[in-house]
Amino acid sequence: MYGDACNTPVLLVVAYSAAARNSLRNVRRSHEDCVVRWFGRAALLEATELGAFLALRLREKHPGDVGIERTRPFNEFESVPEAVREAAVAYEQRDSDSVPYAAFAAGRDHPAPEEMADSEL
């Protein structure tokens, strides 16, 4: 199987019914190589034509009960502002465990949660 350092895009397939979940499990059994990771109700498939074919088949078989997204590898140095990255590191290194992030940020000039919620990557 693939290690966690997966460098290529993948398709995220999510089942929204028991029958769809079942079919997804069967896909994993019969197309092991194409299934990068399997979470029971969801799976990552290779973003190849075969992966797309398997995902689309599932959607045809279970109308309304299969979600398909395409994901990209996440590089925070390309996509995330330095202030946000630094805030995450600083917060996890804080001394007092019980400080909620909002208070921590206010005291130290890190971005506030509301600001970050309003900013798309």
Binding site: Y16, A18, G64
Partner: protein, 270 residues
């Protein structure tokens, strides 16, 4: 029960048909009230019949589920039953919308292709205009063509933006529909788990009686859940209260009468 086969009518709680050369299937259909050459007048079979309504020599039995059905046939209920009923009511109330975004996606893809095509066209026409200018040639027609293409491109970009927004709105609606589907899935899983636990509980309640029955019945091997499948099926009939006659194609008893007595049930023996 009253049973009519090959023009011969029989009555009683034990019907012997071993000389009649009949298969189990027509008899079972008659018991179920379905069209059949064998007519049977008897109460409707209940859920227990699915498990042990027919005991053939090569019987196989999901003992726990069958014993749970036997318990229920006696009116025994599980402590989990009210919760299952409550969850089933909630489940029945969920009716998720169907939000299909396929057409939105198609519209967006087409709009994108159109924009790309028109961008290339605009670029070509810009190139043509430039070279005509450099060559000192008349540019009026080329300018008009470029202006027209630029207008079309602008319209196409507007259409693409509109298609994008429509898709986004549809996706948000779909999220709510999916929330409902997830809730439905969670409820279904909880119900399945509770029913499984209820079956274990009910089967457990009859475990001692079942064990004793496997010992008391003639023939077979083993005791309790280790007994052979036919013994387990027969023991399940005995500890349960089947509403309709049970069909036996196995040969454990001297006759239908002996079977009916040993099993405390109405029997048709083939």
């Amino acid at each position: 029960m009253r049973l009519r086969a090959d023009g011969v009518a029989r009555e009683g709680s034990a019907v012997e048909l071993s000389e009649a050369g009949l298969d189990a299937e027509p008899v079972l259909r008659g018991i179920r009230g379905e069209p059949s050459p064998v007519e049977v007048d008897c109460p409707d079979p209940g859920p227990l019949h699915e498990f042990v309504g027919h005991v053939p020599p090569d019987a196989s039995l999901r003992t726990r589920a069958a014993l749970a059905a036997a318990a229920r046939s006696r009116g025994v209920e599980s402590a989990r039953d009210p919760e299952v009923r409550r969850l089933r009511d909630r489940l029945a109330a969920i009716d998720p919308d169907r939000v299909d975004t396929r057409e939105h996606r198609r519209r967006l893809a087409e709009a994108g292709e159109t924009v790309e095509r028109l961008r290339e066209r605009v670029a070509r026409l810009q190139g043509r205009l430039r070279s005509r200018r450099e060559a000192g040639e008349d540019t009026e027609a080329a300018e008009e063509a470029l202006a027209e293409a630029a207008r079309e491109l602008s319209e196409a970009e507007t259409e693409r933006a509109a298609a994008e927004q429509a898709l986004e709105r549809a996706r948000r609606r779909r999220r709510a529909a999916r929330d409902a589907r997830e809730e439905r899935l969670r409820l279904q899983d909880r119900i399945d788990n509770l029913r499984r636990a209820a079956r274990a509980e009910l089967a457990g309640r009859l475990a001692d009686e079942f064990r004793a029955a496997t010992r008391a019945l003639p023939g077979g091997e083993g005791i309790g859940t280790d007994a052979d499948p036919v013994t387990r099926a027969l023991a399940t009939v005995r500890v349960g209260e089947p509403s309709a006659p049970v069909v036996l194609s196995c040969r454990r008893f001297a006759g239908a009468g002996a079977a009916a007595e040993a099993l405390s049930a109405k029997v048709v023996r083939l």
